[in-house]
């Protein structure tokens, strides 16, 4: 066979079909069948009529919304300070704020847990608060990085122009900088929101026994209930699709997730 550049993508295309596309089909199959393989909608209707499951969905959304908001409130000023003023020239400084994402998350959460243990006495007393603290601690760098890159790329001439046209610093920030940094905010939000709905290990490690969407998959998995688990996975996929359509995932996001190894 003659060598062409195109043919180089064959192995990867096959890999994607086998391990990305095929698992999705399998999820669909299992979500809409019962243990014997007969077609059923009971997994779907079961989820939406079970008050516990719906409660979990609501609780996950609550944790995800609060975590995302807290991350944003902390990350935006951080990114802004790092990307403007004197620090703009010293680009190595951002690495200090991004570095935690390269330290194994389970060890970081262990460290946080030991500290919270001392401060709070009994972790189980504040499940929601601890979940939000834990997730913020875990995901913060993923919010800082995309916002930082977006603000860094802003042309300072826009701000100068706004000032020349009579805007004070406050107006210039709210009418120019903030709207222009929306792409960064959006990718930060989508990087935090979804993990906050699914990363149940953070809750587990902080002695929070409340379920979030991810924990449902975990418990179905432990019970060998592939059908129930597949349905939860599908519902999560639906939420992800919705998010991607609304916010749009871009390259910033994917870069940020692995860290700024540009």
């Amino acid at each position: 066979m003659k060598f062409t550049r195109k043919s180089l993508c064959i192995p990867y295309a096959l890999w994607l079909c086998l391990f990305v596309v095929a698992p999705l089909f399998v999820l669909f199959y299992y979500a809409f069948t019962d243990g014997t393989g007969a077609f059923t909608l009971s997994n779907l209707t079961g989820f939406f009529t079970d008050p516990n499951a719906l409660g979990t969905l609501v609780y996950s959304f609550a944790i995800a919304i609060v975590t995302t908001a807290v991350c944003l409130l902390l990350a935006y000023p951080t990114a802004y300070i790092l990307a403007t003023g004197k620090l703009k020239e010293r680009q190595g400084v951002i690495l200090i704020f991004v570095m935690p994402m390269w330290i194994n998350f389970s060890l970081r959460i262990t460290a946080l847990k030991e500290l919270l243990d001392v401060i709070e006495g009994n972790l189980a007393m504040y499940p929601f608060l601890n979940a939000v603290i834990g997730m913020t601690y875990d995901f913060l760098p993923f919010m800082i990085l995309p916002i930082y890159t977006t603000i860094m790329r802003l042309d300072p001439a826009y701000i100068e122009a706004a000032n020349d046209l009579g805007a004070n610093n406050r107006d210039a920030f709210f009418k120019v900088t903030l709207p222009l940094s929306m792409p960064g905010i959006m990718s930060g939000v989508s990087m935090v929101f979804l993990p906050a709905m699914t990363n149940y290990v953070v809750l587990d490690m902080l002695y929070n026994s409340t379920y979030i969407m991810g924990s449902l998959i975990g418990s179905y998995f432990s019970a060998y209930n592939w059908n129930g688990g597949s349905m939860i996975a599908l519902i999560l996929l639906g939420i992800i699709c919705l998010f991607t359509l609304l916010g749009g995932s871009d390259e910033e996001e994917t870069k940020a997730r692995g860290g700024a190894l540009l």
Binding site: Y12, L27, N104, V118, T254, G258
Partner: protein, 269 residues
Amino acid sequence: MKKIVRPLFLGIMLLFMYLPILILAVYSFTDSTQIGAIHGFSFHNYVTLFTTPELLHMILGTLLLAFGSAVIATLLGTLGAIGSFYSKERTGKVIGILNEVPVVNADVVTGFSICILLVVVFQISKDTFIPLVVGHVTLSAPFVYLAVMPKIKQMDPSLYEAALDLGAKPSTAMQKVVIPQIVPGIVSGFGLAITLSLDDYFIATYTKPATFDTISTYVVNATRGSQTTIKTALWALSTVIFLVVVLVVILMNLQNRRQGKEVSVEKTA
């Protein structure tokens, strides 16, 4: 005002991000089993960490898995990126979209779905490590693809043509002209693949053999248990990893700075 508020805010953020790790690091050098109690200086956590076979196996296993899956992911992702760039537009687009799936998907879902496909449908035993490696490669290859793609787009297409005109076979031109130009993308893709594998918990839990543990799965299980020797040895592990990451970041920064200087020299020359 600005002069005080800005550094103060950054300081508080750093404190929040690093205080837990630093406190744990300090206590890892004591014989204390709990934070808060003051105890004598001791290296025993480090001795335990580096002499307990169970812990050593777990660390070595994690590193091997990260390295192995990163090599496969880098190969697949790099070839995939080159191939799809030169394919028909539609083929390239489809590959690009499929490539996004593991990136935006929740790891719980990725891990669970791969487990169902390989373990439940195809009946492949988890003990073969195949599901685990497949899972980690599926997670990281898309990031390699995304790291390499921009480098291919930046490349001057006429260089490859020139090599062909000068008599190089397409495969030779690929090796000698295209690959060397995208090396930075390949390297950062490989780095991404390593960090993703090291940090992963969910895919590993759903696909790993019962007797094998990565650092993440081991630590999560250890926090449920009550073995204090293991618990405090993990403090030592956390400190070691922290120092390694700091070192790597410093080296990377130095390297970037040197490259930055070279570039600016080239520009002025």
